[in-house]
Amino acid sequence: MMEPQARDEDLIRRYLDGDVQAFGTLVERHERRVYNLALRMTGREEDARDATQDAFLSALRKLKGFRGEAAFTTWLHRVTVNACYDLLRKRQRAPLLHERPPDEGPPRPEPAEPDHADTVDLSVDVQRALLEVPPDFRATLILCDVQDLPYEEAAAILGVPIGTVKSRLHRGRVALGRALGVPTLRERPDAAGPSEGTMSR
């Protein structure tokens, strides 16, 4: 049962004191964001399920060490992003634009399988394009443009300065725009752009 008034930190303390329901409330409160972050990062329901479980299990096992310096949501998002990176590495399915041979088409991982048929066409195209964006940029896009988190929170989750978040966000959007195949003013070969965090290129 949801306890909207209880703070995450209080639920954690109650769980550590033996209240399993408090942990259930914590999971119920955050599972949707965690699952959707994983779904957009990995692009497959099966992988998203695994990453979500890995993230929550990892969080569960580290709860005792959670000191509350960061908000629990920030910490949980970080654990989730890391679980996704681990999973993408393990499956060697990360479609990295900059590692692709220039004359080979982009890899086409299986698209997600949304439950609602009416959203399939558009969201599958966007999801497929998203998987062509390098993972670091993709994570930034999901946090800022899908989950609508402030730059500051994305920076805390990703453990990078805000300037890096802004740079990754811009480069990621450009890469996504290209992957979507939208008309451009002119085509340039440096699709992924220069290294992040620079003022000039």
């Binding site: 811009h170 450009v174 002119r186």
Partner: protein, 248 residues
């Protein structure tokens, strides 16, 4: 040419202060590269916003909560576990297993025959048949959903991901006179020191109202379990609808 890259995300978001926006506008008027990038970014933003938030599928987080419960129960001393079980029963919160202490089912009752016959058929000895432990009895999860073979495989896979439960020997043998457990037992499932029932679900399986038992099954004697068994029976007549197992 120096490009104001650190401003372009805010520019595309429309959150740049007027003075900085003016700087970017001046730059864009003479930089085709940045104009193109801003155009691409401006198309990416609504595309990302259009991604729907998907519901969390069945069975993703339930094993996590089960694992949290297992960890708490391991920490709790024996008297605490009994208090916990008694509290649950008293509150009758979701747990419909009325835990009643009874003698071990080793005195030749009909139930014992039901318990033992399939175990013997499966080549499992009967000596260990007795009460299951308090902490092995999960709450019944009520799912208004039709499951299929794929869901059954997921249940097994997900139960295999949580740390294996080691059955404990308890002095207080218990019986769970509950339809779900009774039905699983009637169909041949065993609850003894080799098996830990980790999940108990009421749902439908291919359209048939069903009970689902997810077990960690092992050699007994305090040894860790070796596999997950998913046991799905008809709620109406307790016949087995499907069985599957997966190694841990």
């Amino acid at each position: 040419m120096t490009h104001p890259e650190d401003l372009l995300a805010d520019y595309a978001d429309g959150t740049l202060p007027d003075d900085e926006r003016a700087v970017v506008d001046v730059h864009l008027s003479s930089c085709e590269t940045c104009r193109e990038e801003v155009a691409l970014a401006s198309r990416a933003i609504p595309a990302l916003a259009s991604l729907p938030e998907e519901p969390v599928p069945f069975g993703v987080t339930e094993p996590i909560v089960a694992e949290a419960r297992r960890i708490v129960q391991q920490r709790r001393p024996a008297w605490g576990r009994i208090q916990w079980a008694a509290g649950l029963a008293a509150a009758a919160c979701l747990v419909l297993l009325a835990v009643v202490a009874v003698p071990r089912l080793t005195d030749g009752t009909d139930e014992e025959q039901t318990l033992r016959a399939p175990a013997a058929e499966a080549g499992i000895g009967q000596e260990g048949v007795g009460g299951t432990t308090l902490e092995a009895l999960p709450a019944l999860e009520l799912l208004d959903r039709d499951l299929d073979e794929r869901d059954a495989r997921r249940l097994a896979r997900e139960a295999a991901k949580v740390a294996p439960s080691v059955p404990r020997t308890s002095d207080a043998a218990v019986e769970a006179p509950d339809d779900a457990i009774g039905c699983l037992v009637a169909s041949g499932a065993t609850l003894d020191d080799r098996d830990v029932l980790v999940r108990l679900i009421q749902a439908r399986y291919l359209g048939t109202p069903a009970y689902v038992g997810v077990f960690h099954e092992g050699p007994g004697g305090g040894e860790p379990p070796e596999r997950v068994v998913v046991w799905i029976v008809s709620k109406a007549d307790c016949t087995i609808l499907t069985l599957l197992s997966q190694s841990l």
